[in-house]
């Protein structure tokens, strides 16, 4: 009887074996992570501004950083070079001659902060301090006509920025 059972299990399809994995069968080797450890790992920023760090930056400060660390690839004023164009599209997205710049396409300003902080510049990702990221974000939003020269970006003001293409997306495979 025991033997018969063992043989039968050999013929169970893989999917069934997968489904048969229940918590009771698992070794439970995860190590609890303390809140302060989680806080150090967690870098997620949400569209409503949750996760944005303390700090601030101005358009003027951002222009200086951009010219030094970004313009080599993205061109002066974000007009594109070896890396993509970031600003300067006035053609509507419905027109075939449009281009997908921050101002014309990106739906959330928080995304700009998050991506710049984690991935830019490409030869030293993660090297910009929060104040520098706020400043570059302010500059990029200003050259896209989203904020004015006088606007300072910080956790509160950035979360309030409404991007022109905020409602330009339709979710397909997830709601």
């Amino acid at each position: 009887m025991r033997n018969a059972r063992r043989h039968l299990s050999v013929f169970l399809p893989l999917a069934f074996l997968g489904a048969a994995v229940v918590s009771a069968d698992t070794p439970k080797l995860g190590e609890p992570a303390a809140p302060e450890v989680v806080a150090k790992w967690n870098s997620t920023i949400f569209p409503d501004g949750r996760g944005l760090p303390e700090g601030k930056g101005t358009v003027t400060e951002g222009r200086a950083i951009y010219d030094k660390k970004c313009s080599n690839c993205h061109g002066p004023e974000g007009r594109g070079e070896t890396a993509e164009e970031l600003a300067g599209n006035d053609v509507p997205l419905s027109d075939p001659d449009t281009s997908q710049t921050i101002g014309s396409y990106w739906p959330y300003a928080t995304t700009l902060f998050d991506y710049t902080r984690r991935a830019m510049p490409m030869d030293a990702p993660g090297s910009l301090a929060p104040d520098e990221v706020y400043a570059v974000t302010a500059y990029l939003l200003q050259i896209n006509g989203v904020i004015t020269e006088a606007d300072e970006m910080n956790a509160a003001t950035l979360a309030k920025v409404r991007m022109p293409n905020r409602d330009g997306f339709t979710r397909i495979d997830a709601k």
Binding site: T44, Y108, T111
Partner: protein, 434 residues
């Protein structure tokens, strides 16, 4: 008994342009040639042994000389050294770009691990597994970290599945057909056995809060690439993969561990996975807003287009190859669908006027590459070859003009239209829009 190309009395045609019934593949004695070998069936059979090229030694030295010793890790034959991934990278940032699987040189459904396509955003990190942890946090009862040593003790599951970049085949949106080997056009799809721990097991251990509906996932590469995924998919069939084709995942595929999301676009299969945060909503990261979304003709963009829809492509004969003589050839290709199994593949040799069903080679698995084959008697006249996949949901791969009419040409991602190869009278195969 080989069938000479000029005496077609015994051949059973299934469609125009010389397509043979798929039963022909099973008939013993029908010798098939390939464009890569470029030797027509009858020619290969008919010359007597005496006509073999003079330099061929009837007693080659390999019969009388001891061979090379054992190797601790094997490599392809030196005669196959040109079967390589084609690399397209940013000159200023060499780790930003892609490499394509050379589909034109491969058979079967498994992609050798060293030829699996790559899409890196800023290079391949070198990660010491002892220094790596996977953290699960956010809307859970107890945030946890898992070491590799721990994960290797968990119950595992395998998925034999394709992985395809959302940007694969994007040259199809160009106004003129691109002329490149098929792998350098459609080769951002590969197929492996991925083995690892079901994500649901790890989530259960952390204890999922009722408010959790999404997860934010992050890699340990330069730039810490991040995306959001619906929790339901993670629970359904995703795994934290530790092995690829039986060995530990290679560095460029995410060593020491990556997420595998069966049937969904490559970007969400996060390599070098380090963090999984349960949330109530997506984070709206750059690679799910500014990129990997598709601008449509009306000005709106499709977002969270995760599923790779049904697609197929003929790999032999294909662009940049040449048929030497008229005769019988095996048309070979790959079909796949992110929604499940491939139900059928139809082939046309007359530009889509008539179609014949191809034979699907076992195994035919859900969300896996499926190899198809069809016999074709090329008359020597110009021909246009097409393949059309239908998946088990009934979805049919669209013609290019239909896809472009619906999506425009600015979407960039998720191009899955029928591919047409033109065969000229001299046997040259090129990419055509037809």
């Amino acid at each position: 008994m080989a069938v000479p190309p000029d005496s077609n009395d015994e051949l059973e045609y299934a469609a125009g342009g010389g397509l043979l019934h798929r039963r022909a593949l099973l008939r013993q004695g029908l010798v098939l040639a390939t464009a890569a070998a470029a030797i027509p069936a009858a020619r290969a059979q008919s010359p007597p042994p005496a006509a073999l090229p003079a330099p061929l030694d009837p007693n080659p030295p390999t019969l009388t000389t001891p061979g090379a010793p054992f190797s601790a890790y094997g490599s392809p034959s030196s005669f196959e050294r040109r079967v390589l991934r084609a690399v397209g990278a940013n000159a200023d940032v060499p780790g930003n770009g892609v490499s394509w699987t050379p589909l034109e040189s491969l058979e079967g459904i498994i992609t050798p691990s060293g030829l699996h396509f790559e899409r890196h955003h800023n290079g391949v990190p070198t990660i010491d597994p002892k220094q790596h942890r996977l953290m699960i946090h956010g809307f859970v009862k107890q945030p946890l970290t898992f070491s590799l040593e721990s994960l290797l003790r968990y119950p595992m599951r395998s998925h034999l599945i394709f992985l395809e970049c959302g940007g694969n085949s994007n040259a199809g949106w160009h106004s003129e057909p691109i002329q490149r080997p098929v792998g350098s056009f459609h080769g951002m799809v590969s197929c492996s056995e991925w083995t690892g721990v079901p994500v649901s097991v790890l989530l259960d251990e952390a204890g999922v809060d009722a408010a959790a509906a999404w997860a934010v996932l992050e890699g340990a590469d330069a730039g810490a690439l991040n995306v959001s995924l619906p929790l339901a998919k993670l629970r359904d069939d995703c795994i934290v993969a530790l092995y690829q084709n039986g060995e530990r995942i290679r560095p460029e595929q995410g060593y020491p561990l990556r997420l595998i999301v069966p049937g969904w676009e490559g970007i969400v299969n996060i390599k070098w996975l380090r963090r999984l945060q349960l949330t109530s909503e997506p984070a709206m990261t750059r690679d799910e807003t500014a990129k990997y979304t598709e601008l449509q003709p009306g000005g709106k963009a499709r977002q969270f287009t995760y599923v790779m829809e049904a697609k197929s492509v003929i790999t032999t004969p294909s662009a940049m190859q040449r048929l030497k003589d008229p005769g019988i050839y095996e048309i070979r290709g790959l079909a796949w669908s992110g929604r499940g199994r491939v139900a059928r593949v139809d082939i046309s040799a007359d530009g889509g006027k008539t179609w014949a069903e191809a034979a699907l080679q076992d195994p035919v698995l859900p969300r896996c590459l499926t190899r198809f084959r069809a016999a074709w008697n090329w008359s020597g006249k110009p021909a246009v070859l097409k393949s059309r996949a239908t998946d088990e949901t009934g979805y049919v791969q669209p013609e290019r003009n239909v896809l472009v009419a619906e999506r425009g040409r600015r979407g960039y991602f998720h191009y899955n239209a029928i591919v047409s190869w033109g065969v000229a009278e001299d046997g040259e195969v090129s990419h055509v829009y037809a």
